[in-house]
Symmetry: C2
Amino acid sequence: MEASEAEGEGVPAGPLIRPVRPGNALETTFEALLDLIKVGAFPPGWRLPPERDLAARLGVSRTTLRSVLQDLQAAGFLEVRRGRYGGTVVTDAVPEASETAVHSPAEINGILVYRRVIEAGVARVAAQSTLTAERRSALRAACRAVREGEAAHYRRLDSRFHIALAEATGSQHLVDAAVEARSLANGLLNRIPLLPSNLENSNRQHERILAAVLEGDAEQAEALACEHLEGTESLLRGFLLGDEGRSG
Amino acid sequence: MEASEAEGEGVPAGPLIRPVRPGNALETTFEALLDLIKVGAFPPGWRLPPERDLAARLGVSRTTLRSVLQDLQAAGFLEVRRGRYGGTVVTDAVPEASETAVHSPAEINGILVYRRVIEAGVARVAAQSTLTAERRSALRAACRAVREGEAAHYRRLDSRFHIALAEATGSQHLVDAAVEARSLANGLLNRIPLLPSNLENSNRQHERILAAVLEGDAEQAEALACEHLEGTESLLRGFLLGDEGRSG
DNA sequence: GCCCAATGGTTTGAATCTCAACCATTAAGA
DNA sequence: TCTTAATGGTTGAGATTCAAACCATTGGGC
């Protein structure tokens, strides 16, 4: 067998090999919980599952989890209270738009394209799904929360709305993908300023997407989602790629 | 703060909490490598990256990786040769369609819906992407390999073609999602028999999807991908859900 | 025939993580 | 006021995983 690449013949499989352990247990657990806070899975005031339960769900030991919870507490995201009816509660601290890793234009495009496939697909499937009254109510509440929330919480509330759409599909895999896509995209989105006019427009688009989903109009829901995503993509491409282009 | 659920108010975030360590290092590494073999990332004859390199890419120690490689060798999937110009080569052993976990109808639907969102979206984006001559060549080769391959290797070759489409998008996240979607779906697809007429039809659909992608017709590529996926979904729903329905 | 370098194979000690048992706190109910 | 039970807090032993150093094999080049 003659090898043209270290991996063998043909197109190398390099990119297909992904870390099964991208970091140590502490790092990955910290990132996971912070991501969930950032995308609104744990809104302020929310009480996390009890430590023993949460550790089991995350697949780490309680010792490891406790260390992470202490770090999150020290960073101001959690408050802990002992005793019966105690627990670990999420504060309303807003995660700083940290200096995320610098992405190449190709990476940025890769994230945007991924987000669009996921979120437009989610809108379509949600519109095709049978929604319970509870689910409809949750969608409306999430949409209203974005509109009525303070600007400081916009990113989190916006994310939560899009994830609520994913939850409406009934596919755990789409939910996971939506969470991941939002976490990736937020790292980029947080670098552009929130202008009131843009937020207003975005909120209107949310209403229309929601209406299409509730009406069961799959074509419309997907088209509106694409339009919505194109809006922020344009902002991003101009803001980030333009920047990168100039500094390049 | 009044809690309606253990996690707090409103819709519980339970489903959003995912294991950061679904299994131990040996298990997850074994699954990851076997999945890559199954989806054609490592075709027969392929030489894996050297151990030290592969361990680094997977994010595990060389000790852990070696243990997994030994298991895969014992299972017949790999052959190892020492010395200069040695290495670890993939055999042409076909993974048995093992008794995968029994899925509920909701889980099956969740997988199918996820696969459709990913693969239809991938077709669209691939058609919109600028393809190098090498990439076009790889796509054609992958499509041809499905058509000309033996039935025993069909699943692997079919998967590789769809993943090649994802690679054409240039988005690592779509590639990862396509690998995952394929691994999930294959667990289901392997339970239905491969009929020559179905394979013929599937191959024709592959050709048409490829043609649309190469021509840059995004609408067509996505529509054809949906039609292609609907075909196997129908087979699956009738075969699995019908079964479950009757036994239920 | 010897050398070299790239690969797999082995061993040892350290780091990380897990598990389980037990302690302390706390507010509601009796 | 005491009890209860659900929560967080602490400790020690063991398992898992890692890192690094070194050995053995092997085929091509000189």
